[in-house]
């Protein structure tokens, strides 16, 4: 028999190996070591999770209702991010509007220049034509 497959090792871990597998384990140090390592890792995992869970339970008792504060802070962060995004969009719109302003100003200035450069006010222009004819 070749070395034990993953399924065989799983059967051993679950405590249901058949005679053939048990016999192989007795005679194969490599498979025995492999199984031992696997068992130790799972046992260490069990111990670590239990210990960690106990510590976390103490943390949960020490800090009353942390879930609300955390979920609130998460929603606050989201709201803040949305607000900042809104401000950025608004600022860019205003800025682009500002970029168009010089063109509008130039038209207005031209109109003012045209008015100022007239020799007489527009209401007197027909009279000026009569004088020019003379």
């Amino acid at each position: 028999m070749t070395h034990l497959s993953s399924e065989h090792l799983s059967e051993c871990i679950l405590g249901q190996p058949d005679r053939r597998i048990a016999g192989h384990l007795e005679n194969c140090p490599a498979c025995r070591a492999e199984l031992g390592n696997f068992r130790e890792a799972l046992s260490g995992f069990r111990g670590a999770v239990r210990c960690w869970s106990q510590n976390q339970a103490h943390v949960a008792l020490a800090v009353p209702r942390p879930s609300e504060s955390r979920s609130w802070s998460a929603s606050h962060q989201l709201a803040l991010a949305l607000l900042l995004a809104g401000v950025c969009i608004l600022a860019s719109i205003v800025w682009r509007g500002g970029e168009n302003a010089p063109a509008g100003d130039a038209v207005l200035l031209n109109q003012v220049d045209a008015q100022v450069s007239r020799a007489v006010p527009s209401s007197m222009e027909p009279l000026m034509k009569l004088v020019a004819q003379e």
Binding site: E7, L9, F38, G44, V49, S53, Q56, A60
Partner: protein, 191 residues
């Protein structure tokens, strides 16, 4: 006359009080286990707390319907399994929680029980293996992870897991085999 009325009232109240006291004892006994299972499944302290509270609330509400066809622990685990499943489904949409609040392998591996007989190198190796198992367990599909944790953290046997998850015993075994294979691959073994 008044005395008789008071004693009648007391008799009427006492069963509820007794049930409440019994239930309080049940909570004291099983709360750490339910919390541990929820925490290992969800890896988030707040959600695990919430699931544990919900579990006992539902158990209290459904206590009359408990047919005692399985142990109390298995019955509570069954409620917890369903609540955790709901949480996982809801959490798929809460991307910011997934990213920030899950426990890292090192958080858990550091809690391994130190063995004085083990050399520092061997202890470090074991911590690495524990971290690898934790990481592999986190990547397992939901059902595989559930049966894996019920078997290797809560020490439930196949029949109890079948009762807690509502699966057939053969299905539980299949999920366990797949979970073990994935964990072994993560540990560096050949599948």
């Amino acid at each position: 006359m008044q005395l008789s009325a008071a004693s009648e009232l007391e008799r009427a109240i006492r069963p509820d009080v007794a049930v409440a006291q019994d239930f309080e004892a049940l909570v004291q006994l099983y709360r750490p286990k339910v919390f541990r299972f929820a925490l290992a499944s969800l890896r988030d302290l707040d959600t695990a707390e919430s699931v544990t509270q919900d579990c006992f609330l539902r158990a209290y509400q459904a206590r009359d319907g408990f047919r005692q066809d399985c142990s109390t622990q298995t019955w509570l685990m069954r409620i917890a399994v369903n609540l955790i499943r709901d949480q996982i489904r809801n959490r798929r949409f809460q991307f910011w929680r997934r990213a920030s609040l899950t426990a890292k392998p090192a958080d858990v591996a550091g809690h391994g029980i130190a063995d004085r007989a083990r050399s520092p190198e061997a202890q470090a190796l074991l911590n690495e293996q524990v971290a690898a198992v934790w990481e592999a367990a986190g990547k397992l599909p939901e059902r595989q992870r559930t049966v894996f944790l019920l078997r290797f953290v809560e020490d439930l046997d196949l029949l109890e897991i079948a009762c807690a998850t509502g699966m057939k015993e053969g299905t539980v075994k299949t999920h366990l085999f797949r979970a073990l294979r994935a964990v072994r691959v993560r540990l560096g073994g050949v599948a």
